[in-house]
Point group: C2
Amino acid sequence: MNFARRRGRVEEYLVENGFDGMICTNPESIFYLTNAPFLTGSAGKALYISKEGKASLVVSSLDYEEAFDRSEGTEIVKMEMGEKLFERLRRVSGGADKVGFEDGFLTVRAYDALKKNFNLASVGRLIEKMREVKEPEELKNIEGAVGASDRAVTKTLSNLRNGMTEIEAASEIEYHMRREGGEALAFETIVASGPRAAYPHGMPSGKRASGGEAVVFDFGVKVSGYCSDTTRTFFFGQPRDEMVKVYDIVLEAQEAAISSARPGITGKELDGVARSVIEGHGYGKYFVHGTGHGVGIAVHEGPSVNASNNEPLVPGNVVTIEPGIYIPKVGGVRIEDVIVITEDGSRDLTKFRKDKMVI
Amino acid sequence: MNFARRRGRVEEYLVENGFDGMICTNPESIFYLTNAPFLTGSAGKALYISKEGKASLVVSSLDYEEAFDRSEGTEIVKMEMGEKLFERLRRVSGGADKVGFEDGFLTVRAYDALKKNFNLASVGRLIEKMREVKEPEELKNIEGAVGASDRAVTKTLSNLRNGMTEIEAASEIEYHMRREGGEALAFETIVASGPRAAYPHGMPSGKRASGGEAVVFDFGVKVSGYCSDTTRTFFFGQPRDEMVKVYDIVLEAQEAAISSARPGITGKELDGVARSVIEGHGYGKYFVHGTGHGVGIAVHEGPSVNASNNEPLVPGNVVTIEPGIYIPKVGGVRIEDVIVITEDGSRDLTKFRKDKMVI
């Protein structure tokens, strides 16, 4: 990855907008700009980028060795134990005045601590927008993660049994995602069966899946720091008539949206393609979420594929296409692939089959 | 769980401090106050608690069914698709003026959106502090999670093989944590071998563990929404002399700290107990982090067991005790249990053995 080029774009922005420098505290942005690794939810690190192009990453002694070994083109500054991150930033910045920050990530508590030392101004979605357009190497990593998920679900299929619990089923898919090279899960695996499948976010429980229930599996893994995100719905036993029909409608909506994905279509328009298929079959009120979201270092990032996004998609955007139908107390179906917007259309990165599968 | 009693404490605070109500946007606080579930990293929900004691949870249509079925004593308000969360809060609050928020969780972007409608003031660490003292049922859930981890690592031991990769080893422990009833991993599993074990946060890689290397396993799972957090260091092959010595020192430090844990000791003092053992053996500069942290709904919460915490521990605090020694380019050892502070001392919730184990 060309981290220096990414930081160069930040520096251009800083110069053009009269900033002396900027502070990143979001671990995903820090990884994007330096290659310094992070655990999800980790904190206590801050990156300072000056308008002259110097990058300094302030870390605790805990993270020093790994940041030092893995970062590129970045000074690593070790805090002493008990030292305050935001006080050290004052020294690192060399007396900077107007300093940018990411308002979508910085907490009010951190803002209040930093404002004692700096004249703070938001850089808005600067880095979020940069991350929305994937470079070829980033795309390769995402394909690696999606490929690991594809192989894992293929192997999992032979381990699924009618009557197993949701948690047991989750253990199988997670085990295989690991064995296929995943460094970490990309998010908390969802396995939701029967009436629980009407919860789009249903975490696996001790409930057994059987009797023809539709079971939603939503799973992803990280490879080289990038995420996959796949959903398939399997039937545990011969399905009932309505859920078969629902499956066909969701698949039709998903394939219609994938066929329509191309540069220039807005997130709202692409959402509308999937939604109009489902509405046309009379299930519109049961499609209770947007059609998709961007995927990259974070499993949820820009651009959105929903009614709020009036911006056109561009080549290099990587998004999920994941319509679903959720009938309260009855069941649910969701089917999700990850696609990349190309120069003249899109390419589906998820290769695993989408026909109805009965366990 | 007595969610109404917890909310009652919030209401008392609001009345005493002249607030009309407060807004929680942190999913973990929302779970604590309502039982409405969450996925780690999920967003888009907000809880409004009025000083009169009414609780209203605003959710997207995506989360409506699950929040409705699981929450207790809480009105669930469904946003329409495309509707803005913070606009809906205006209506839900019924014209409230002075409204509290959690400054440690709210982002500056969300603050800027909310301040158009409200006269915002931080409630500081109100809910964070409440969460630091566990109720008996919370303790039972944490013990359930720690017990699942204990059983899982016992079963994993027989699946570990000298020469397997860090990722393969991680797949085994995660699989068994699931099979023992875990709803989700509590955090990204760490498996770091040989020189990589000198990274306290080393995520599992394709590196093979062998030749007597010390291998740090740091793992945890969620049960009923509460986390476990355990670290053990195994030797893959007969260990070299120095790491054997380091193991003994870390274990001595860990056991000394556990023996000293009691109500009234500060986080800083308890950290000092472990640190002085390691310093006494000449390894002080290699103990590069604090001794522990609180565990509960979040795997990292208060109170801290480190040099920054001058407050005394109290009965019901649940903290990790996890000293470590990390020698750059050579290796590392960490041993971690979860303990609860009792009326007259502490109780170790982690039962898995701590003697040196050679794979």
